[in-house]
């Protein structure tokens, strides 16, 4: 934007508002000034193109203000906030068990993982240790939702670059996973499965059987998907070397999850800061070095295989026992039969459901994160003694990854936008909250 500083009147071209140089809070095109190697002087022949918020290739409400030199993207300014729903403010009025429905809507591609993240954070604040069986079941549903999330992300990336069959293969398996979730908790999409101190329902033999069948059959689909796309000339040409994120930049820009691991960052909270019962399982952290869209695709494919291994080990070694913490702890709701037949159950149920009682929450704050499908998903909670959080902050991976977008797209062509957007897997509800 060197030209606009020298000739202040000249940047009203293309209907843009003039920049107020002294006021840092105005000026739409300020992002252009964070210099990249491809930043050029603002020339007359450059176009401004609005991409989204309802472009089919953006999948959700994402808006990009692009500056184009012919077909080449000179700059991209993400404009977010179209789906801002006040999820963090809602956390200040819904109690710890009610808020789980909001986490479903936060990342509606893998709601189970969000449920696990939210109640993991609440239990860290309350200091609850879960029973073994509940930990195993939470690992199983979190890994199944990782598979479901990666299937959608890779499937949509394939669809956007022309691989329709691949998308159908991926989506069929998502239906199978939804069937499993439906048998488990009654909801296909907005699961709300976890509770403070445990889970809503135990696993039935039917669910275990369905998960075993899925584990047995999914390998073949993964191999078919590999064969369809991994060496497909069109797909490789459109993704290799596109949107390269070097390792240092990935750390510097707070990237996490498959996007960071595709750039050579070996950070994975399941290994580095184990939560639940992840140390019990044998699995690998999947990494790549290239940091381009193709590497991100391959990392997601590899992670699905590792998740399948974890699910396989967990379902075969599922411990017997309770799925909720003991009734004496007064944290999880007792079962109905206990409420009707024992005095402890009646008292506990009464204490937990009355709005001015609930469980004892410390006047303190804590942060807990899980390795969600898209990266580190953490909640910073401030407790104030009541069963409603004083402040519930979500550390959303999509928010951080969308901030990477201008860096990744500069210098590429217009058609590469869908490849880069697809490989970042941005969920608008989590981006805007």
């Amino acid at each position: 934007m060197a030209a606009s500083t020298s000739t202040p009147g000249s940047d009203t071209r293309h209907g843009e508002r003039p920049l107020d140089e002294d006021n840092p809070h105005t000026g739409r095109l300020r992002d252009a000034e964070e210099a990249g190697p491809n930043t050029q002087e603002f020339e007359d022949y450059q176009w401004t193109l609005n991409f989204g918020p309802q472009h089919p290739a953006t999948h959700t409400t994402l808006r990009l203000v692009l500056k184009l030199d012919g077909e080449r993207v000179v700059d991209a300014v993400p404009d977010i906030g179209y789906l801002h729903s006040g999820f963090e403010k809602l956390g200040e009025s819904l109690d710890y068990n009610q808020y789980v429905t909001v986490t479903d809507r936060m990342n509606y591609i893998s709601p189970m993982a969000n449920n696990v993240a939210w109640h993991g954070a609440v239990e860290r604040l309350l200091g609850i240790e879960l029973p073994r069986r509940a930990q195993y079941i939470r690992v199983i549903v979190a890994e199944l939702s990782r598979i479901s999330d990666h299937l959608l992300c890779n499937g949509a990336a394939g669809l956007d670059t022309g691989a329709f069959t691949y998308f159908l293969y991926a989506f069929y398996q998502r239906e199978v996973l939804y069937d499993i979730f439906e048998t488990l908790c009654g909801a296909r999409f907005t699961n709300s499965y976890t509770r403070v101190g445990g889970l809503m329902y135990d696993m039935t033999p039917l669910v275990i059987d369905k998960i075993r069948t899925f584990v047995r059959n999914f390998h073949k689909t993964l191999e078919d998907m590999d064969r369809l796309l991994n060496r497909n000339r069109i797909f490789v040409d459109r993704t290799k070397g596109v949107g390269v994120l070097p390792r240092e930049e990935a750390i510097n820009r707070s990237a996490s999850g498959p996007i960071a691991r595709a750039s050579g960052v070996t950070r994975d909270l399941r290994k580095d800061e184990p939560y639940l019962c992840y140390p019990d399982f044998d699995f690998k952290v999947c990494c790549a070095k290239a940091g381009d869209c193709y590497a991100r695709y391959l990392v997601r494919m590899a992670e699905m295989r590792e998740s399948l291994r974890i699910v396989d080990q967990a379902i075969e070694n599922l411990p017997v026992g309770e799925i909720n913490v003991a009734i004496g702890e007064r944290k999880a709701l007792p079962t109905k039969s206990m409420v009707y037949s024992t005095i402890e159950g009646t008292i506990s149920h009464f204490e937990l459901t009355m709005s001015n009682r609930g469980f004892a929450v410390p006047f303190d704050e804590s942060y807990a994160a899980i390795e969600a499908p898209n990266g580190e998903l953490g909640f910073y909670l401030v407790g104030d003694g009541s069963d409603v959080a004083y402040r519930a902050r979500c550390r959303p991976p999509s928010y951080i990854h969308f901030a990477l977008f201008p860096y990744l797209i500069r210098g590429h062509t217009l058609s590469d936008i869908v490849a880069v957007l697809g490989s970042l897997n941005i969920i608008a509800a989590e981006l805007d909250r």
């Binding site: 000026g27 739409r28 950070r267 184990p274 690998k284 999947c286 580190e376």
Partner: protein
């Protein structure tokens, strides 16, 4: 942990699920900045840094103690909080990608001086975090390259995550004019 092929040193990984914090880091920080207070809760180490030395403390942690990963920046409005003496608490969550240490750095701010130096020179990832804190709480980050609203429209005048922001009804609807969306 039988398999840690991707890790250079599997022994570094902590066990037990709780995040590890080293007393050495806190000791070094306290030696450099004597006003720093530290505390422990549920296996997490938190330090409270005075607002005037927050940038120097973050710079020290990044360059001397290798906290190269900025996990999050957020803010808490302690308006009605029990025993709270300060209005806003700014929270920086840091992590070290080599040793997997984590550290929560907090600083307290009071009206009318709601300005801290921006952390963007240290971590590029702070850019959008700080814009969100400005948008939701009205904390100004001096030296930020592009501090403007990110989630709310630019014409919006209030800070919605502050505790005194009215949730619904007359107080809210009367105070805020109808917004027009200027095409930018």
């Amino acid at each position: 942990m039988p398999d840690a092929a991707a890790k250079s040193d599997p022994a570094k990984a902590p066990a037990g699920g709780a995040t590890v914090a080293t007393s050495a880091t806190v000791a070094a920080l306290v030696e450099k900045f004597p006003a720093v207070k530290s505390s422990e809760f549920r296996g997490q180490t938190r330090v409270v840094v005075p607002a005037e030395s927050i940038f120097a403390a973050l710079e020290f942690l990044k360059q001397q103690r290798h906290f190269n990963f900025l996990v999050d920046i957020t803010c808490v409005d302690y308006l009605n909080y029990r025993d709270a003496t300060d209005r806003f608490g700014l929270v920086y969550l840091l992590a070290n990608t080599d040793t997997n240490e984590r550290l929560t750095v907090r600083t307290f701010l009071n009206e009318p001086d709601l300005t801290v130096p921006s952390a963007v020179p240290l971590w590029e990832g702070a850019n959008w975090f700080e814009r969100e804190v400005w948008d939701m709480f009205g904390i100004t980050f001096a030296g930020h390259p592009d501090l403007r609203r990110i989630l709310m429209p630019e014409e919006f005048t209030a800070f919605p995550l502050r505790k005194d922001y009215p949730l619904q009804g007359r107080g809210e609807r009367h105070n805020f004019p109808v917004l027009s969306r200027h095409v930018g």
